[in-house]
Symmetry: C2
Subunit: 189 residues, 2 copies
Amino acid sequence: MLNKLYVALIHYPIVGKDDSIISTAVTNLDIHDISRSCRTYNIKKFFMVSNLSAQREIVKRVFRYWKEGFGKKHNPNRNDALSIAEIRKYLEDVIEEITEIEGKRPKLVFTSAKPREKEISFDEMKKVIREETAPILILYGTGWGMPEEIREICDYDLDPIRGKAEFNHLSVRAAVAISLDRLIGEETI
Amino acid sequence: MLNKLYVALIHYPIVGKDDSIISTAVTNLDIHDISRSCRTYNIKKFFMVSNLSAQREIVKRVFRYWKEGFGKKHNPNRNDALSIAEIRKYLEDVIEEITEIEGKRPKLVFTSAKPREKEISFDEMKKVIREETAPILILYGTGWGMPEEIREICDYDLDPIRGKAEFNHLSVRAAVAISLDRLIGEETI
């Protein structure tokens, strides 16, 4: 169902340049861009996930500026966009929270720019999103992507965007925007 | 033709919050995100346009870091993405340069989140892009958008993305990504 879609941006656990598991730093424009994209495509909540309390505090400061501070008055659209954004410690917390809101555990969708086995196409996923009665949580990685341990608990493994192109190094902000547009398009709820 | 597509991000002339004409500041992530999106969709060149020499100097410094400095070694993909990025003073300079490269003046495409008269749909524009023999330059605004004086010299006026949605305040980075995906999709040249 289009009215039970959730997005999470994972900062931990993440694969680092040398294949170890790391926490990535939050990027200010991730907060804004992905909130604005999610709000435009009627995503119910956009969760940022970081296990580092200092990072969560930075995100909360940005939230405060735009939700309560000068930013709210200066640019009300930002306030509106950020109204769906949250920061949580672990992916498990996000899954629990969605389960509480919807009364049903969300189906998880893995995304990556790397080709994997058993991918679901955007067209098939588009259908699933419209037919599935459980909430759906689409996961996006930062750094060098999400580790196998996350992929293994996911119900769907979404096709890379332009996986056959000679160069497909989109920013996560662009990847979220494009995939939400491919899955939801002009449809409103 | 898919191999004669150009993108420009306009920082002047731009509409300001109070409807006056302003120069906007360059955003570091615009340089990276839009270069990466353009490179992924085989855009021939991505031009940033700013009439302010201090702003152009900042962009050139970012270019130098990733094209020649430490960044080149640290992350070769960024170097590759930025290989198609340029900074120019005026839109006229960009049009002249493309005319020189292609031997034909580019057709200009206007984009905006606001609904206008005489818009061309993404499906129609997709066809034009494949059939047109002249190069095509797609223009994106910053700030509160591009002024009428630019719209008037454009050949096409592209539909807003989710123009009918209750909220459609995408970042320009997201708007570029989504519109290139809608117009080009998975097709490679």
